[in-house]
């Protein structure tokens, strides 16, 4: 793990790093020493590790909860090289949708393919980050919606260090069976008028989670219109389960 830059602003220390070729960013409280809970955040499709939605939430987890937060670029995104295989599949999918194919199963299939890489990558990120003195080995949370949900479901199901997860804007097409292996508390965000994820698919994914504590938060609006007050709720959810 090689740190390549470091900045601090408004109480948050931001460290960019490369881990086995994987570009990532770690946020911690300025001056933090000792172990603390850690949240791994998965970004959305076409976005990257420092997407505004990720940064906004990461800074709040750090300043309001004292947590560490880490995010890395998904294959083919951000500072990672173009991935020919994923690019080819994405292009084929676009052509299929243009020809009238249903979008949701194509998205689900694509995300399942990407998850085969991101699950071990993210597990390696936890290994490396938790060895740092100012992070340490405390409980881990996961946050990810849309692509971050498609990749997050298999990650949370596979990784026992994750004790609580915020997921959402995703459907059950490909991940219901995997979701049935998740037992940690989940806050699940669903947009009632999501143009990318059919409502019944989102409800079915929430239904499939085996967690005894899981809460669906559904709000009106499209895929990209999560209301700001849900960020407050997310902060409280992680504070409750990881503090």
């Amino acid at each position: 793990m090689r740190f390549i830059s470091e900045t601090t602003s408004d109480g948050v220390r931001e460290q960019l790093f490369i881990l086995d070729g994987l570009p990532g960013v770690l946020w911690t409280p300025d001056g933090a020493a000792g172990a603390r809970s850690l949240i791994l955040m998965g970004h959305g499709g076409g976005r990257h590790k420092k997407d505004a939605d990720v940064v906004t939430r990461a800074r709040r987890f750090v300043t309001e909860c004292g947590f560490a937060v880490v995010a890395v670029d998904v294959p083919g995104h951000g500072d990672r090289p173009i991935d020919d295989e994923l690019d080819r599949i994405a292009t084929e999918n676009q052509a299929r949708v243009a020809a009238g194919a249903e979008l949701a199963p194509l998205i689900a299939g694509f995300q399942a393919l990407v998850a085969r890489r991101t699950v071990p990558e993210w597990q390696g990120v936890l290994d490396a980050v938790q060895r740092l003195d100012h992070v340490g080995a405390r409980p881990v949370g996961y946050w990810g919606v849309s692509l971050g949900c498609g990749l997050g479901v298999p990650f949370v199901a596979a990784e026992p260090r994750v004790r609580a997860a915020v997921l959402g804007l995703g459907g059950a097409s490909a991940s219901a069976e995997v979701a049935a292996r998740i037992t940690v508390p989940v806050e699940f965000l669903l947009q009632w008028d999501d143009e990318r994820v059919p409502r019944e698919q989102g409800l079915a994914l929430f239904d499939a989670l085996a967690s005894t504590e899981k809460t669906l938060h559904a709000n009106p609006g499209g895929h990209g219109e999560l209301p700001a007050f849900e960020v407050d709720s997310t902060v409280r959810f992680f504070a409750r389960h990881l503090s």
Copy 2:
């Protein structure tokens, strides 16, 4: 409006009253003077104005938000006389359910009948309580689940003083058309395994609300198993919309 008793404990003043024969209770901060937001709470079926679920929430709205809270007994409940007509219909409904009839439409029909009385009664309660110096005419919130939702939907739809409502544990059988006249922010509580309200009926009632800001909170468990953390969320919801 005649006050018949007054007690104070842990910072909350509780005044029992009779208004045109209607028994009620008003909670305000101890020593409160001047206008403040008011929450009217509707109790559940077979319960009463001082049901534990009502009192727990009322005390928190008073102590954490500084609001006034009022609750009255629904016809045939609490300190009100037995209502022969409602009693007869309830008995008939029990017989129908025993004979295999579907429960939800019977509940909905019964609640619509009761609401014809409670809507004007509750409007009269607002009139009277808002004339008190320590309550005054600030924005009003409504809280009610189960029977309190069945009666709350027509009340919130009819009463422009209500600016925010927590509803839930109710279905669309009889109230979807009325719900479509509600435009204020709503937090809607749904129990995913509700044995009294079919899931699709609860989702349909949430869907029918015309509010641009509405949030569905769905949790696992039966009709009577709302999780405690939803009380925290309710307090924040009212604080956000009525403060």
